[in-house]
Amino acid sequence: MWHIITMVFPYAIAYTIPMLVTALGGLYSERSGVTNLGLEGLMLVGYFASAITIKFTESVSYAAALPLGLLAAVIAGALFSLLHAFASINLKADQVISGTAINMLASALTVYLARTIAGSGNVRIMMGIVRKNIPVLSKIPVLGPLFFSQSYWSTWVCLLIWALSWILLYKTSFGLRLRACGEHPSAVASAGISVHAMRYFGVIMSGALAGLGGGVILITYSGEFNGSVAGLGFLSIAALIFGQWKPLGILGATFFFGIATTIANVSQVIPQLGVVPPVLFKVFPYVVTLLALVAFSKKSAAPKASGEPF
């Protein structure tokens, strides 16, 4: 059993990380007061941008291609999210419709561009990140094989971003202002701070981080852009809700969902895990999110002004 766990664990982490950064992006946006249902599309944009960038740079320098791809994913996600920011902040549009439009636009436009630029709807890169054992830490008993063996460097970058985001959102005055924009924007405005600027920051961060999530999918377990992130963006939204709009909560929720997804995926290969039908693991995140919404319906932790134009 221990052997199976150590085998499966790195995959669970690999599934968790893109969801974690994307949900973190959603956290920035929701906390600033803008509902972002376009995370799936923004992820897809990052997925595509990194694939194209890596495809055209990997022949020049393999070492530089992957970080460059991630950077492209971040920039592309941030730029694409401006569409949502403009609609929901300046024009006070319906944020749900705008987010849906972002999703549809991303899934059509990325494949359109992939077909035009790369000649096919699928863009394959030569090589993703090579998994490595971390020198000293992987020798620690129990924790070593679970967390520090066979890990991607991108995992540590993303966890660092998560930690920094927590500090930014909860330990600085800037973070307090951003969160206040999602709770009581008029109070922020009366303190002489631009609510619009804060919300722009929130939405752009959500785009950048969701784009990063898409890029991470590509260079860790996917290796190929195929025009869909298979609902991972929506799963991130579920994790955001299940994690009750808190950094630690989303870390736990995404990890929980990551394990469930991994078990469902590998249950055909590993018979010991096949006792429970995999469909239960796949629908589990969505069901528990619905249950969480029901359970917390009396005392919702959602940002009060989220989704309301200012």
């Binding site: 249902l37 403009f86 899934s107 436009l109 319906s297």
Partner: protein, 412 residues
């Protein structure tokens, strides 16, 4: 002054104008994208429209594509009327389609009876998937957008594992076994009439649904209550309307309509279910409803338009180098522009205001002229010695400096 409100009414931007602006901008965006990859947009659009309407068979295919979109559009529009956003039409389609596919595989009855069972199964499947978010909204105040998204993915993964386990096709793991043509919605006379296209009995289901939904919304107490809840739920509650019950009913009917869309798609347009595909029609339906201004008749026409775009894209791709995703891009752009419709509203209201002001100026100038004429006439009558030349001079002088003054301001 009394003319002012009348003129405002005359020029006010309406839903249709806004929707039309969104469509035009969406098509322009499509043209820009085609030009960006070095294709001729005019040629692209020509082939796109020809692909949808070139001959009887293609018109049939456009109708078949529009059938599904019409029902999804109705579903979204119906929920909109009650102030709910049904973003879960995809999941409701999947469940409705799954129920219909199961019936098609296992139920063998005389044709008319069979069709009733088939339609009812899809209706109930979709309604079940819609009523759950409705119940959660009514009972626990769970936002229906989040709930329907979750339901979408629950349906997606359920179908993903259900189809290979119970409806496995002979060749591929990723799709269900095809149902017999005689068990599908296709009928010989309709297929023959449209030279072998995909058009099927679903089109009649959709048209009947349009009529029924229009009847419910316009002529029944239920429709009145649903609309009242949609326009102001507190006011409706105060008037004694059971808001929660109406929310549940609305989501149930919306789900049922989307379930019927699944029926027309999986047992009419196609004859099997592919796994791992979230039906994009569920989201295209949002565009259909928005463009149709949530009006059943509007939905009918906008679904035909989007059906044409979707059905012509393959032909366009074959004839030009434009990828077929251009149609989806155009639809997504139209949704985005509908969401940001406040821009067009401002624009058209601005145009209307300018026109009103110009009208008013003209009217005022006319009135001033009339007054002046009257004065001149009166002056001439009073003092016959002072001719029209004298009375005109002061007015000319007064015009001079004023216009000079405005020039100065503009320079500043």
């Amino acid at each position: 002054m009394s003319k002012k409100p009348k003129q405002k009414k005359e020029f006010k931007s309406n839903d249709f104008l806004i929707a039309l602006s969104a469509v035009v901008l969406g098509l322009i965006a499509g043209a820009v994208l085609m030009a960006a990859i070095g294709s001729n947009p005019f040629e692209g659009f020509l082939y796109l429209f020809r692909g949808g309407l070139m001959n009887i068979e293609r018109i049939g295919n456009t109708l078949a594509t529009a059938t599904t979109l019409m029902l999804v559009g109705l579903s979204v529009a119906f929920a909109f009327k009650t102030g709910l956003f049904n973003i879960g039409a995809s999941g409701q389609m999947l469940v409705g389609g799954l129920c219909a596919t199961l019936v098609a595989h296992h139920v063998f009855l005389p044709r008319p009876l069979y069709l009733v069972v088939l339609i009812l199964s899809a209706l109930l499947g979709g309604a079940l998937w819609g009523v759950i978010p409705g119940f959660l909204k009514a009972k626990f105040n769970v936002h229906e957008v989040v709930a329907t998204i979750m339901m979408n993915w629950i349906a997606y993964w359920s179908v993903y594992y259900f189809v290979p386990a119970y409806l496995k096709g002979p060749s591929l793991e990723t799709e269900s076994a095809s149902i017999a043509v005689t068990q599908s919605l296709r009928t010989e006379w309709l297929t023959k009439m449209f030279h072998g296209s995909y058009v099927n009995l679903g089109i009649f289901v959709a048209i009947v649904a349009v009529i029924i939904v229009k009847f419910i919304l316009d002529k029944t107490t239920l429709g009145f209550e649903l609309k009242a809840v949609g326009s102001n739920r507190f006011c409706a509650e105060y008037a004694g309307i059971k808001v929660n019950r109406n929310v549940v009913v609305s989501m149930m009917i919306a789900g049922g309509l989307a379930g019927l869309a699944g029926l027309t798609f999986y047992t009419g347009y196609a004859r099997n279910m592919q796994i791992g595909v979230m039906p994009s029609q569920g989201f295209d339906g949002i565009a259909v409803a928005l463009l149709g201004a949530s009006n059943p008749v509007g939905v009918l026409f906008s679904s035909l338009f989007f059906g044409m775009l979707q059905s012509g894209k393959g032909f366009m791709n074959a004839m030009t180098s434009v990828p077929p995703e251009i149609a989806d891009t155009i639809i997504a752009t139209i949704i985005y522009f509908t969401a940001t419709s406040v821009l067009f509203k401002k624009f058209w209201d601005g145009v209307a205001r300018k026109m009103t002001i110009r009208r008013e100026k003209e009217v005022a100038a006319q009135e001033a002229q009339d007054a002046k004429d009257a004065q001149t006439v009166a002056g001439r009558l009073a003092e016959p010695s002072s001719g029209p030349d004298v009375s005109l001079h002061p007015s000319r002088e007064s015009i001079g400096p004023v216009s000079g003054g405005t020039d100065g301001k503009e320079v500043k």
